[in-house]
């Protein structure tokens, strides 16, 4: 009887612990790298990968994007990550949020590009 109770409580405790540990898979905020062009990386966060990978992905995405000019888009995978970009643009600058995914790994960065 006691062992069954113990098993049940342990299972419940494990699920509760898992719930509260859920935050461990939440995004980690990283220091954005120096922007290679005129503008700034304004934020960088990673999930299930390291900040150094996040920096590499952000820079690789920049390189892919500006291959078509500063207003260009990146239409291919960067370092194995598939990226999606949401932009707000005015005549003088572009502000964008870029979400890159590779399986459960995720790199999210935002940038401000002077035009």
């Amino acid at each position: 009887m006691l062992s069954r109770l113990f098993l049940g409580v342990s299972l419940l405790a494990a699920i509760v612990a898992l719930s509260f540990a859920g935050g461990a898979s939440a995004a980690t905020t990283c220091k954005p790298p120096k922007y290679p062009g005129s503008g700034y990386f304004t934020s960088l966060s990673v999930t299930k990968t390291s900040c150094s990978t996040g920096v590499k992905v952000a820079k690789a995405y920049y390189k892919c994007r500006v291959a078509h000019g500063v207003k260009g888009h990146c239409g291919k995978k960067v370092l194995g990550y598939t990226c999606h970009e949401t932009r707000r643009s005015i005549a003088t600058e572009i502000d964008a949020k870029v979400t890159c995914k590779r399986g459960s790994k995720r790199v999210v960065h935002s940038y401000q590009q002077d035009v």
Binding site: F6, I15, V16, S25
Partner: protein, 337 residues
């Protein structure tokens, strides 16, 4: 008798086995209950942030009822308040947000004595006060001005806090809400003097009552001025602090200069109610009197004052601007030279 291979006798023979398995069960139950009551909402939030899958389903299976229990009881809120000091993040709590700015204030706003400077009225200015804390903030324009100000005040006992928010703008609250940010800065730092230099990234459309206000006509200038005025009001801290708002110099790009002109006009209008506390510092007369220029004469030497981007000041330009700003600060505060 079957041999007990749990090796518990090692503890029992010294009388160290004081708890039973049932006690462990109760302890686990107690901790689980405390977690649910005090932080059940964070379990739900963690689940909602997870990627879809069995892990998320399991976490939400517990997190949703735990969150509901935590929401219904006051303990989670009390625990949040009690442990707020330990938060490593700079929390913007919504206070002062631009979203709360009134669209059209009712009635005629009264003119107060704060709108007049002693110089305007020909009266004696108040004696300079001691300066303890200075905040230098803004977008990328505020750096390296912040470093120059800190360097100039080194050894005077004045604490200088530098808070540049690169790429931000008053018209782009999607990155940072300067209304909220300024409230947080004042609450956290209590500066006696606030130097603000911002405006390199402006020109984004505003939304008001579901309508879009595009840059750069009078409606956009008015909305921008309202936001600047809200920030000035926050920084002046009911008259306890002085604000030094630096206007934009002309930049190399013509479209950017056109936006800068509107920003500068809005700054002038925004400061009107508090002329005795908010100092608007012009940069055009000094740095770009006849349009954009990379270099100018400083102390008899032709000096490059701008960065290659044609927008920002370089170290030499910032150091010269810091001299202008601090000359104005010294009219309000007693600062050692």
């Amino acid at each position: 008798m079957a041999r007990d291979d749990s090796l518990m006798e090692r503890f029992e023979q010294h009388g160290l086995s004081r708890f039973r398995a049932r006690d462990a069960v109760w302890a686990v139950l107690l901790v689980s209950t405390l977690l649910v009551v005090l932080a059940g909402d964070s379990a739900r939030r963690a689940g909602e942030q997870m990627n879809p899958g069995i892990g998320r389903d399991l976490v939400l299976l517990v997190g949703k009822p735990a969150g509901a229990i935590a929401d219904a009881l006051p303990f989670a809120r009390l625990a949040d308040k009690a442990t707020a000091w330990a938060s490593p993040d700079e929390a913007l709590n919504g206070q002062g947000s631009f979203a709360t700015l009134a669209a059209s204030p009712a009635g005629i706003p009264p003119v107060t004595p704060d709108a007049f400077t002693p110089a305007q009225l020909g009266t004696k200015p108040p004696a300079p006060r001691p300066l303890k804390r200075v905040l230098v903030t803004g977008d990328s324009m505020s750096t390296p001005l912040d470093t120059s100000v800190a360097r100039a005040l080194a050894g005077t006992g004045v604490k200088v806090t530098r808070e540049p928010h690169l790429g931000s703008g008053i018209s782009k609250s999607f990155l940072v809400d300067w209304g909220e940010l300024s409230s947080t800065q004042v609450r956290k730092l209590h500066p006696d003097a606030v130097v603000v230099f911002i405006g390199a990234n402006e020109g984004f459309p505003f939304e008001r009552d579901g309508r879009e206000i595009k840059c750069c006509g009078a409606p956009w200038a008015a909305e921008y001025a309202n936001r600047v005025r809200a920030m000035m009001n926050t920084y002046r801290a009911d008259g306890r602090a002085r604000v030094y708002w630096v206007k934009l110099p002309t930049v190399r790009s013509k479209p950017r200069s056109a936006i800068g002109r509107v920003v500068n006009a809005a700054i002038d209008v925004a400061a009107e109610p508090w002329k005795s506390q908010v100092r608007v510092i012009d940069t055009i007369a000094t740095f770009t009197p006849n349009g954009y220029r990379d270099a100018m004469e400083i102390d008899g030497q032709d000096t490059i004052v701008r960065q290659p981007d044609g927008i920002h000041f370089n170290d030499a330009g910032s150091a010269y601007l810091a001299r202008i700003v601090l000359d104005r600060v010294r009219q309000d505060f007693a600062v050692e030279r």
